[in-house]
Amino acid sequence: MYVNEKLNNLLKRVEKPARYIGGENHIVMKDPADVKARFAFAFPDLYEIGMSYMGLQILYNIMNKKEDVYCERVFAPAPDMAGLMKEEGIPLFTLETKTPVKEMDFFGFTLQYEMSFTSILDMMQQAEVPMLSADRGEDDPIIVCGGPCAYNPEPLADFVDIFLIGDGEESLPKLMERYIEAKEKGLSKREFFELIAGDTGVYIPSFYDVKYAEDGKILAYEKNYEGAPDRVQRYIIDDIEDVPFPEEPLVPLIETVHDRSVIETFRGCTRGCRFCQAGMIYRPVRERSKDKIMDLARKQLASTGHEELSLLSLSTSDYSQFEPLAIELMRECKAQNVSLSLPSLRLDTFSFNVLEEIQGYKKSGLTFAPEAGTQRLRDVINKGITEKDIFDAVEQAIELGWKHIKLYFMIGLPTETDADLDGIADIARRIVEIHKNSGKGGRFNVTVSVSNFVPKAHTPFQWAKQDTTAEFTRKHNYLFEKLKMKGVTFNYHDDSVSTLEAIFARGDRRLSSLLLEANRLGCKLDGWSEHFSLEKWHQAIENAGVDVDFYTTRGREYDEILPWDIIDSAITKKFLLSEMEKATKETVTPDCRYGCRGCGINARTTCKLGGIYEQ
């Protein structure tokens, strides 16, 4: 069996060498000579993280179904491997054929979180591909990006040739067809970009020049190529029932974050939480039928030998046929001796029965995400969960023997005061009390996890201010004192990371200088606390001359041109604006299954679940 000698030597010197070898069950092996387009699908984080991401499996499957396309994978090497590769002069390579990525036609990144941006630049460097689009030539791969962070693509605009906005299952294969067409015609890169500039979901940032006002705000986006659209429409697949979903997913040889079969039940969400980007950009709700889900579950379990099955959606219980689906899945899993994991259940009686059935004596913690500590603030963010919901469910949970309750909150939300923080402590205290009064005794623990609000593009809160890093720290200290209670554990996120996330979440093109500086100073794998360096980031911000407050603590004017206005998510600005206004008035907008709220999505596609429960 052929093993590259240089690589063979390196693999003996690194931790978890199996991250770099490929060879998993269901890997797709093709002869590169037989295909017309080679695509390196890059996940800008370690193998174990990337391989737990379903989107990779979906697109890998779809792309490789195309005879003339070969999609291979590449992940960020851990620092030990990256260092040795540099020393030995081995450029970043694909797992499938160990081909240097720089020889591929496309180098595609999925943008899942802002803190992975530095890893993208680092991977380009390791691949020996020039980072700036302007520096790349005809022989360099085309850099393409997609995923949720592509909804504000601007911080990466100078590095990326093509952003694909929206559902990738159709737009990415289509892009490959267009590329092959262009290649056969002998078009240059520029001509290829012009060819596809009008395709739905395609954003070519180099076709636009941005003009800024003296105060730093955007004056205008000016097209430098007439064929580019005024706004890029998100690619929407109307019906996902027949969109291919992996029946034979790759099964990693080493343990990853999640080693389990996963079936996506539906895309989109109707709840309308005002801070939530996923709840806006994946509209409308599109479901797979119950039969399809069962069929996929059986096939995946049979082809992988996995011992766990989980469902993927933004809110498991919101599936319209949830009860019959859960019952059928439980039956199937029991028969196959597979454990069933149902994340983010709404805690009603039915869910408790399901949890009792699937977890029995091995109860994991029970999770709630009230997100805010008072009803007032929950109304502001439109999180439709009441104290009664929480405490009724907790009572039931304690009765059934749960010993661990996990609560998720966000701090720094618009209009928040210390009274809302007191509310967080109050909920924790009352849960401990409910347990005490239940007479159940024994060990009991409440975990309060607090994350920091990061305003996101294409949400009603896209205009909102973010707290300063110092204010986050003060609030954490405040909560720390308030939550000094027996049986309560308090976790919180790093404040400065939240500030950095916010810079990029609403940032513009000028941030490319910050990313270049961060890259030059060695920032990468910033999602890992052991690799993250605040000193380097401070230095990079200083060197690049970035005004942090301009991006984070500054509220945006309603009439301000926002960097992500170039992307049309199909949710109207008018809707987002009215939601922001309602937030300041503490007015809720009910779930749109009880009546259409006019978000605008039905102007582009059929919204099947909108208003289904309307009287």
């Binding site: 003996k12 060498p17 770099y20 060879g23 069950n25 040889l253 343990e255 049979a302 030998g305 011992e307």
Partner: protein
């Protein structure tokens, strides 16, 4: 009669970089995919009755690995071989399957010797390696560094008594065939022999360019093991 079986398999190519625990997971999934139900231990946390006769170190190749297991239902060995072979990733080859009719509790308990082939990135004719090996073995004691299991500290131990035989093998590159103690009673890792030999022979080479293959796993004579592949 119990449904105990053993399979012999090869591990070659890049997959040699998966650990023995990952290999166990791989086989567990493979059995599940084939619909072969493994017997489980009793107790609160039952685990499948399956294990390697001897774990193979990360980075070593082999064509003689043994996996022993017990199934719920009786199986035909031809079926076992065929079904499992279809489930294996690149680099793992199922070579044979056989019923395991031994008095010993497990193969793992009666392993006592293994043969390794070690290839050094050194021209075999660059020195008289037969003599160097003989001199190496003629030492009163052969000291090697070994990390203590309990204290995690490095300690110097004499490994001479655990080396059964070392012969120079065929090949353009220096190749040593090493018979070493192996198993639960006395065990010697090829790593310690390699390190001490490289030092003794003053070879200017890097450990990471040395390749190790396991050629054979042997059992205590008195256990009377004969695998019927």
């Amino acid at each position: 009669m119990s449904n105990k079986y053993v399979i012999k398999f090869a591990k070659e190519g890049y997959i040699k970089y998966t650990s023995h625990l990952d290999m166990l997971r791989l086989f567990k999934r493979a059995f599940k995919k084939c619909g072969i139900r493994l017997a489980h231990s009793q107790g609160f946390n039952p685990h499948p009755k399956m294990g390697f006769a001897q774990p193979l170190s990360l980075g070593y190749t082999s064509r003689c690995e043994l996996l022993e297991f017990e199934t719920m239902e009786s199986q035909s060995t031809a079926d076992l071989k065929e079904k499992l072979a279809a489930m294996m990733p690149m680099g793992i080859e199922i070579l044979a399957a056989a019923p395991l009719n031994v008095s010993a509790k497990s193969l793992a308990g009666v392993v006592d010797e293994a043969l390794y082939k070690v290839v050094f990135p050194v021209d075999a004719s660059s020195a008289d390696f037969d003599k160097i090996v003989a001199d190496y073995l003629a030492q009163d004691e052969i000291l090697a560094e070994k990390r203590q299991k309990k204290t995690k500290k490095m300690a110097t131990v004499d490994i001479r008594g655990k080396i059964r035989k070392i012969a120079v093998g065929e090949g353009e590159r220096l190749t040593l065939m090493m018979n070493l103690d192996c198993g639960s009673i006395s065990n010697l890792s090829p790593e310690q022999v390699i390190a001490s030999f490289v030092k003794f022979a003053e070879l200017p080479i890097d450990r990471y360019d040395i390749e190790v293959e396991r050629l054979e796993i042997m059992f205590e004579k008195k256990a009377g093991i004969k695998l019927q592949f």
